[in-house]
């Protein structure tokens, strides 16, 4: 069953796309990750133009983050004040990212930049999760308990000015680090079509020392607004948001996330993490091969839009 995507301007198999949305949905349900960093490369491998894949995936993440944040909000596990500070950074980052995107698009290097960013990001995140997964499995065998760092330990983060009290997180810290994190995530969102939770969550735990139980809810809250903005900016600046594709992915993702949440309870956490690491590294490897291997077509031909 083929369907013509009006913005991507390709005919695609509806069942394959729905399946891709579902598969990534299962993963995000299982691992509690947004899935943007897997979905965008998959769309590119399938033949969707990278610029359309990035912008449309940002649109899909809006939906999945909203459905995710509600559960955290009900448990009162969202620090809205911290989320808003992160969001201010996110807004600045999104605008910067879109400008950079437009610049790279004009000099014809945007596809390369997207691939490079993915190789770098997937490579580092994948290896981290992979190593962590192996370590967890070994530790479990040796009956060791992983050491948890002391939370209240003071670092350079606490020496910066503009300190604000965040009641929910029980912190009194400068707003410079959260804004900086927000900016970085905003840039990632607009160039790569990811929510950036995989960067934000560790940064919030290890850098800001926020309590673990409110970290995910807070990052989802920020992601909703940043990806909403990124979607609008891409639609406005580049006309690359394919609403048809987004709807297909959203519906696949919804079904997948339910299955994933169900499966996630049945598998062991360490095994899950190990699996996720392997998967991310595999996507990274494929992306790297396409950058390094002799291309099938030495010429890249594209329409000039007037």
């Amino acid at each position: 069953m083929y369907i013509y995507l009006p913005i991507a301007e390709v005919s695609v198999n509806l069942i394959i796309l729905f399946g891709m949305g579902g598969a990534v949905g299962i993963l995000s349900g299982m691992f509690g990750v947004g899935g943007g960093f897997l979905m965008t490369p998959l769309l590119i491998f399938y033949g969707i133009p990278p610029i359309v894949a990035v912008a449309t995936e940002a649109n899909q993440i809006v939906a999945s983050s909203i459905s995710g944040v509600v559960a955290h909000w009900r448990r009162r596990a969202v620090d809205f004040k911290m989320g808003t500070v992160l969001l201010i950074g996110g807004v600045i980052g999104s605008f910067l990212g879109i400008e950079l995107f437009a610049l790279l698009k004009n000099i014809g290097q945007i596809d390369l930049m997207i691939s490079l960013a993915y190789v770098l990001l997937l490579g580092s995140i994948g290896s981290l999760i992979f190593v962590e997964g192996i370590r967890a499995i070994i530790n479990k065998r040796n009956d060791k308990i992983a050491q948890i760092r002391k939370r209240k330990e003071r670092t350079w983060v606490y020496t910066l000015p503009f300190r604000v009290r965040f009641k929910k997180s029980g912190l009194y810290i400068s707003i410079i680090p959260p804004i900086t994190i927000g900016i970085f995530v905003g840039i990632l969102a607009s160039i790569m079509g990811v929510g950036g939770g995989f960067v934000m969550v560790p940064a919030m735990i290890y850098l800001l020392r926020m309590p673990t139980n409110i970290v995910i809810g807070t990052s989802l809250y920020q992601i909703i607004f940043v990806t909403s903005l990124v979607t609008i900016l891409h639609a406005y600046e580049n006309q690359t948001v394919d609403v048809m594709l987004a709807i297909i992915l959203m519906s696949g993702g919804v079904v997948g996330a339910q299955i994933g949440a169900f499966l996630g309870h049945r598998l062991k956490a360490e095994q899950l993490r190990f699996l996720l690491g392997v998967l991310i590294l595999a996507v990274c490897a494929k992306m790297l091969i396409e950058l390094v291997a002799e291309p099938q077509n030495i010429y890249v031909i594209s329409d000039v839009l007037l």
Binding site: M1, Y2, I3, Y4, P6, I7, E9, V10, S11, N59, Q60, V62, A63, S64, S65, I66, S67, V70, A71, R74, G108, Q109, D111, L112, L116, I224, S228, T231, I232, L233, H234, A235, Y236, E237, Q239, V241, V243, M244, A246, I247, M250, S251, V254, A257, Q258, L291, V292, E294, P295, N297, I298, Y299, V300, I301, S302, D303, V304, L306
Partner: protein, 256 residues
């Protein structure tokens, strides 16, 4: 689908018979040398479009059938394309500076009953841009262009956007011809020019030019125009859809 093509063939057959009658009837009057009919001058690209064929048929007035030839040229609107060569830098393949090529047809097909080189003189083919090798592209850069032109033709041929088919025109009986021109799935919108050349003994006897309009159908076209003409509103609507989708999923999981 089969039923549809059967009906199509039937109509073609009937029209052909009709043509031959009119030709016989007017045999002693002033004769038209070439009569052409397009099956469907309006082609819609729907959401499930995966290629369509354009049926062209007609009648010609031949003196000697063995020396009569038909060439059909279908040309889409011209566009500009940018082409970049990939070069290896620091171990990875990077796009180099782009070259802009103008006057590239968005679709181009040559259908004939035999090799066009044998049908008529090269000058004529060149002048009328009949045949892929005679397409006139325009470029601001002079060096390297032949290899780039070759590349454009190769790529478009692979995608079925450029077609050269020397067996594409079938001559039926002694006066009729028909061809079914393939339009691929990723075709551009616009007005396509269909020119039919009728040669008798290597000389052009008559030519007929008509137009075919290719449109994107409602949903696809509507989305495309909205995205390009009201980008801000379109973006906001995309986000609203995502919010509604997200909230309704959250609502569903709460209900359980």
């Amino acid at each position: 689908m089969y039923y549809y093509s059967f009906i199509k063939t039937l109509i073609v057959a009937l029209v052909c018979i009709g043509f031959s009658f009119t030709n016989y009837a007017s045999a002693n009057e002033v004769e038209a040398d070439l009569v052409v009919q397009l099956d469907d001058p309006h082609i819609q690209i729907g959401s499930n479009f995966f290629g369509e064929e354009l049926l062209i048929f007609g009648a010609f007035n031949s003196g000697d059938l063995s020396k009569s030839d038909i060439i059909i040229k279908v040309r889409g609107t011209s566009k500009s394309i940018s082409i970049r060569e990939k070069v290896k830098k620091y171990g990875i393949w990077v796009n180099s500076e782009d070259t802009i090529i103008d006057n590239v047809p968005s679709y181009y097909a040559i259908y004939s009953n035999r090799n066009i080189q044998r049908i008529t003189a090269q000058d004529f083919l060149e002048e009328n841009q009949i045949g892929l090798e005679y397409l006139k592209f325009i470029s601001n850069e002079k060096n390297q262009t032949p290899s780039i032109y070759k590349e454009i033709i190769k790529k478009n041929k692979e995608e079925g956007i450029f077609i050269e088919k020397y067996t594409g025109v079938r001559i039926v009986g002694d006066k009729l011809f028909r061809a079914s021109v393939q339009l691929p799935k990723d075709i551009n919108e616009g007005s396509y020019e269909v020119t039919i050349y009728f040669f008798d003994d290597q000389k052009l006897v008559d030519r007929d030019t008509s137009r075919v309009f290719v449109n994107k159908t409602l949903a696809g076209k509507y989305i495309y125009t909205q995205a390009n003409e009201r980008p801000l509103l379109y973006g906001i609507i995309c986000v609203v859809i995502a919010w509604i989708a997200g909230l309704s999923v959250a609502g569903l999981s709460r209900a359980r």
